[in-house]
Symmetry: C2
Subunit: 411 residues, 2 copies
């Protein structure tokens, strides 16, 4: 069995694979309001100043700060009220010495004024007059022109994944369209003579396709677009035709290969037949997921996932998700992790990365929660359904003792 | 100014609001393959055993375990090979004493056999015969019927948010449709005489609408469906008509109110006019976000958000997101948090929850990263664009010292 003669550590396998890809970010223009979760294809700069006019941050009176110097309850300063600034309009008044203009939160500060006294710090005096009871220093309660962002300033860099506030920042400047990376399309091919579509009643010996849907959902969450191709029989000609067709339509091809050695060898042969450099990695030092194939055909990535759905998801998390982020030109998505204590000893082997599915149980002592491994053979999908996350046992560890503090990556 | 006579702590405000809602989860049936991120409306149970037949986990020979007792390199056990199990079919052979059948990973284990010897632990002997070099105990390398999940077992509880592996678990059992909670529709009304749509060139004194889009995006991420109503002028009749119309079409109404006191009072009046119990909370002990209105009209939630976009997003994260999860019948979404050290002193006031926007900087000493507050007035949207998360200063604290370990909730 030459296929696992050398198992390659995961980080090295990923680097070898990525180095052989030709990645060109393809941009498309979308409405900023619909761009949540998309990745910017170019660095964006502010076309104008925000705010475009001086705005009050409070309800109060626009004044010349110097006029209020020394104001107190005991010694109020008297100012003439020359008008009110209406929302949505430029002020029709200017504020001269010993004058004030009523202004609302968000309203424009009139010419001549340089501060706003909060209405709570004033009281009506005679007709058209107020008493100011507290000093307002120059600039107080005023947002200056361009204080939020200046014209020409960088808004967000290329590769940034847009969040709700980023849409707000863009739209506030009138940027209603943005250039984002087109979602990479990943064709997903399920192979296996025993595999049937989930809607079909199985005959004895047949099992329903899972990987098309779990891998498709992982693809979506990472920002890619899954292209389910369907189920292909375990024959070289059928597989070759399916992969060639998928390569023409997609940015990469994911094969959920059958699990037996002969079928994995078939996958490798087909990848090598279809273009250069072909298979780069065949066997990774990771559990679950050892029988992983990483290849490149004429610049496009091709992956052979283990058929077992648990291994397939683990491998796709380790290689497929970073691939998608790379094809998007994006930084890796933030991982959701929690600190926990391992509830039982976790065995591993030196030279292999192990991933243990766990669920979390609150600790009676109020400390870190316990991470309890989910019992069951590693190829049962319900070990993942019943898990909340995974704990990694690193390459150089031979296991983790019960009680060890671990980082749980949540699903 | 009676509006903030009593500021209510956030947790109490939320409880008072939720208690007055009438929440009925509305279910709809969707294809399981399209149900990623949806919330189950009912507990699901397994209709059948998975797997439905005994499966081999390796490539090898199905045997009677007892026949291999004592097998070793020095003393191999000889077995007659009676056939091969084809993938996707029930075995055409049975395994009798001193017999074996070739079986592939995932293939059915034939009648009579109770274990599978890995092919690596065998070697060909004469024609139709193998040597077994290692013992296989009964059950070894075999997944039993129902070992993944048994018929009638609970799959996932109502209220569970479906992840990629959950879709796999459902589809593996032939469950191609699921009942999920319909996404709650939240109407979003922007008010303010100074507010214009982002695509319109602003006149002096006007500003572009942000909140419709930031709140809409937060709604989407939480599992709700935003219904943007548009911009309504600051007049009681216009606002009343808009809220009444939105209530008829949506499961709740979010008003992004103008920021001045008079406009907030208008919002409260309109909510009280339209039905019972009306306004329940007017002013919350939180910064940013104090001028928050929480109301209920005939069982449906109505929120008055502060007009300032930073306050609006903070308040929506504290009240709107939990509201959506409640309307879905879901557990709160997992928060993404990281531990960090506060880089500078953070001031607060006892009796008020403060949220400080921060970005993270790796620490030179290899310890926890530094959480650096983003400089700027609290109502500038770019303080959120430039931030990676928020740090909460709890109600009873008067601030946090530099160096304090804090939890950063990532955006």
């Amino acid at each position: 069995m030459p296929e696992f003669f050398t198992l390659i550590p995961p980080d090295e396998a990923r680097a070898r694979w990525f180095d052989a890809l030709s990645v060109a970010i393809k941009a498309e223009t979308v409405a900023a309001r619909d761009a949540l979760g998309r990745v910017l294809a170019e660095t964006t700069y502010s076309p104008e100043a925000l705010p475009a006019f001086r705005r009050s941050t409070v309800d109060g009176y626009a004044v010349r700060g110097a006029d209020t110097y020394g104001a107190s309850d005991a010694l109020p300063v008297y100012l003439e009220v020359v008008g009110e600034v209406m929302m949505g309009r430029l002020p029709e008044v200017a504020v001269g010495p010993a004058q004030a203009a009523l202004v609302h939160t968000g309203g424009a500060v009139p010419e001549g004024a340089d501060a706003v006294v909060m209405v709570e710090n004033t009281q009506p005096a005679g007709p058209g007059e107020i008493e100011v009871l507290r000093r307002a220093a120059a600039g107080e309660n005023v947002i200056q022109v361009g204080e939020d962002i200046r014209p020409g300033a960088e808004i967000l860099p290329a590769g940034h994944t847009l969040r709700p506030q980023d849409l707000g920042g863009l739209l506030a400047l009138g940027i209603t369209e943005v250039k984002v990376a087109r979602r990479p399309v990943l064709a997903i091919i399920a192979t296996g003579d025993e595999i049937i579509a989930p809607g079909t009643p199985p005959m004895p010996g047949q099992v329903r396709d899972i990987n098309t849907y779990t891998i498709g959902a992982q693809t979506q969450l990472a920002g890619g677009e899954p292209l389910p191709v369907g189920i292909v029989p375990d024959r070289a000609d059928a597989l070759r035709a399916a992969v060639a067709g998928a390569l023409a339509r997609a940015d990469g091809v994911i094969l959920s290969a059958g699990s037996s050695v002969s079928v994995r060898d078939l996958t490798a042969t087909v990848i090598n037949d279809l273009g250069k450099p072909g298979v780069l990695v065949h066997g990774v030092a990771v559990r679950p997921g050892k029988p992983t194939i990483l290849g490149v055909i004429d610049g496009k990535p091709v992956m052979g996932l283990p058929g077992n759905p648990v291994s397939a998801m683990n491998v796709y998390r380790l290689f497929g998700v970073p691939l998608i982020r790379r094809l998007l030109g994006a930084a890796a998505p933030a991982r959701r992790t929690v600190a926990a204590r391992l509830a039982v000893n976790g065995a591993s082997a030196a030279g292999r990365e192990d991933y243990i599915s766990v669920r979390l149980r609150p600790a009676d002592d109020g400390g870190l929660p316990w991470a309890e491994p989910v019992f069951g053979k590693s190829n049962l999908i319900y070990t993942l359904v019943h898990a909340e996350g995974v704990v990694k046992v690193s390459l150089d560890a031979t296991g983790l003792y019960a009680g060890t503090e671990v980082e749980v990556e949540l699903f």
